[in-house]
């Protein structure tokens, strides 16, 4: 659906993205992660033709964005972290204007999308009276018009309250399951990405540090959590086994090490073990490991 081929972009001599390549298949929900300034927005900007890449190409549905922008973006919708609208116009007039740049859309389709994002009661009010969440929903409505196959969402949950985040998450899921859309999104809310995305790419200092299913990646060594009442003796005993325990109680066992041996050694040394369990690694853990 969308393919990034070795895209590079420098701003004032400083690389913003450097050789970024990845591909997102039809019907996927794909997350683009990275610290602030890692190059996420530049990557999206290049995909939409807002930013000119120094080298490399982005293809959407087989069309090169740089040389055939109109064909490439014909079935693409996008929203940004701070959606911008004409505050003095109503939501409806804003939609009408943005949609006119793509082509004619029947009124019935507009009403359907407005209902989908839940703005039917306020659509004729001026946008200046909208809350941040409502603007975000209006932005989603404009991205869904006329009828995209690919949606690019740059920080879609930025500034939303927990209910708004939940609502946006459900909407994004619906877009794939009910409407068969491909979604590529960036977010700092790793928990959200974890719940939504099939695959992720992690951008670090402009380069791809990881791309794929994060659950399948890593060293294969499990992370464990140990809780004891003897915080002084415990690290010493574990050091004897060649294991380092971190301040938060997590430890990684050496390859093929029997976890029962840890408990046995600690108990034998008189350390009272309250809990010892395998930790399920989160996307956040993986992200922090990957970006150092």
């Amino acid at each position: 659906m969308i393919r990034f081929d070795s895209i590079c972009k420098k701003f004032r001599g400083r690389p913003a993205v450097d050789g970024v390549s990845f591909e997102v298949g039809r019907g996927e929900i794909f997350g683009l992660l990275g610290h602030n300034g890692a190059g996420k927005s530049t990557t999206f900007g290049i995909a939409l033709g807002h930013v000119h890449a120094d080298s490399g190409q982005v293809h959407i549905n087989g069309h090169d964005v740089a040389s055939a922008r109109a064909s490439a973006l014909a079935r693409v919708g996008a929203i940004f972290e701070t959606p911008a609208f004409y505050d003095y116009l109503s939501g409806w007039k804003n939609l009408r204007f943005f949609v006119s740049l793509s082509g004619p859309v029947p009124q019935i389709r507009m009403e359907e999308v407005i209902r989908l994002v839940g703005l039917e009661d306020r659509i004729h009010d001026p946008v200046r009276t909208y809350s941040h969440g409502m603007r975000q929903r209006l932005a989603l409505a404009q991205a869904l018009l006329p009828d995209p196959e690919l949606i690019i969402l740059d920080e879609p949950t930025e500034g939303l309250d927990p209910a708004g985040i939940h609502e946006m998450r459900s909407l994004i899921r619906d877009l794939r399951t009910r409407h068969g859309l491909t979604v590529i999104l960036s977010s700092h809310l790793l928990h959200e990405v974890e719940q939504l995305c099939d695959r992720v790419a992690i951008l670090h200092r402009g380069s791809i540090a990881f791309c794929g299913r994060w659950q399948d990646a890593g060293s294969g060594r499990a992370r464990w959590i140990l809780e004891t009442q003897d915080s002084e003796k415990c690290p010493v005993v574990l050091a004897g086994l060649g294991i380092v325990i971190h301040g938060d109680g997590t430890l990684i066992l050496p390859e093929n090490f029997d976890p029962a041996e840890v408990v046995r050694t600690l108990v034998m040394a008189g350390v009272r073990v309250r809990e010892f369990r395998k930790s399920s690694r989160t996307l956040e853990d993986f992200y922090l490991e990957t970006t150092g």
Binding site: L48, H50, V51, H52, E81, A84, L89, A143
Partner: protein, 280 residues
């Protein structure tokens, strides 16, 4: 069809903003103010004296037509340039600053198309503003002084002419049309600056600074021989339509010069904007 739909959207955006109407309101205020001041005895006497010194009866030429012409001559360039620069300076840079340009460019529409729509909207605004001033000045002038001959006095262009009502009326509208063409240079400069990577206020101030600087230099007596180099010298050519013998050749030359400048500015604006990276 799609262009018309997009163009009507662009006009809707422009005319839905209150600030778009500031120019219209300000001009109406200025027209009324000028007419009130022209009502003062000693002001009226000094205008009458100029007409009478030329051997014509003042009461025949101190008419609504003359007052409307004076409003145009005295106010449109200075005040008009302010509002034209304000709207043209905003037209692209404000959208870039607010982020709506990026929203527009998420659509399968070229930058050239967007700029063409914006330029067309600004040109429509410019024409509307100038014709609004011209027609309201005429209406207010007729209400105030009634119909009569046209007295033209433009010292900078060394024009002194008196026309009967009929020919004067025709020349007034020809003058307004030519003035509209002349003043299109202002939105062209504003539009060009607006496409550069600068704030809307900077584009507006840049446009006005350039115009006023040009006008100041043009009026320095020692630079008389350099006059053809100054933009405002060509822009003021519309007044020549009020001369008894209209210098068509000179005027055509001036308009060709202005057209070349405007076209160059627009082409440069398109080229620069096409190359810009639009980031948050």
């Amino acid at each position: 069809m799609m262009f018309l739909q997009q163009f009507s959207g662009e006009l809707l955006k422009l005319f839905a903003r209150k600030r778009t109407y500031i120019g219209f309101a300000a001009f109406l205020g200025v027209e009324i103010l000028i007419l009130l001041l022209l009502n003062l005895d000693h002001v009226r006497r000094s205008i009458s004296r100029v007409i009478e010194d030329a051997g014509y009866p003042a009461e025949d030429y101190l008419s609504g037509l003359t007052l409307a012409f004076l409003v145009l001559l005295w106010s449109v360039f200075l005040l008009g340039s302010l509002y034209l620069a304000l709207v043209a300076g905003d037209v692209v840079s404000k959208e870039v600053e607010d982020g709506t340009m990026r929203m527009m460019l998420c659509r399968p529409v070229s930058r050239r198309r967007i700029l063409t729509l914006k330029l067309a909207a600004v040109l429509i605004y410019s024409f509307l503003l100038i014709w609004f001033v011209a027609i309201t000045a005429l209406i207010v002038g007729f209400i105030h002084s009634g119909a009569g001959g046209l007295f033209v006095f433009a010292p900078m262009e060394r024009i002194f002419a008196l026309h009967e009502f009929g020919p004067g009326f025709v020349r007034y509208f020809a003058g307004v049309f030519l003035m509209s063409l002349s003043l299109l240079t202002i939105p062209s400069i504003g539009f060009f600056l607006s496409c550069l990577d600068m704030k809307p206020a900077a584009a507006t101030i840049g446009t006005l600074s350039f115009l006023f600087m040009d006008m100041i230099l043009r009026n320095v007596p020692f630079f008389e021989s350099l006059k053809p180099l100054f933009l405002t010298a060509h822009m003021s050519t519309w007044v020549h339509v009020f001369e008894y013998q209209i210098p068509w050749e000179k005027m055509a030359g001036d308009y060709a010069w202005l057209f070349a400048i405007n076209a160059t500015l627009v082409v440069l604006a398109l080229a620069v904007f096409e190359q810009r990276d639009l980031k948050s």
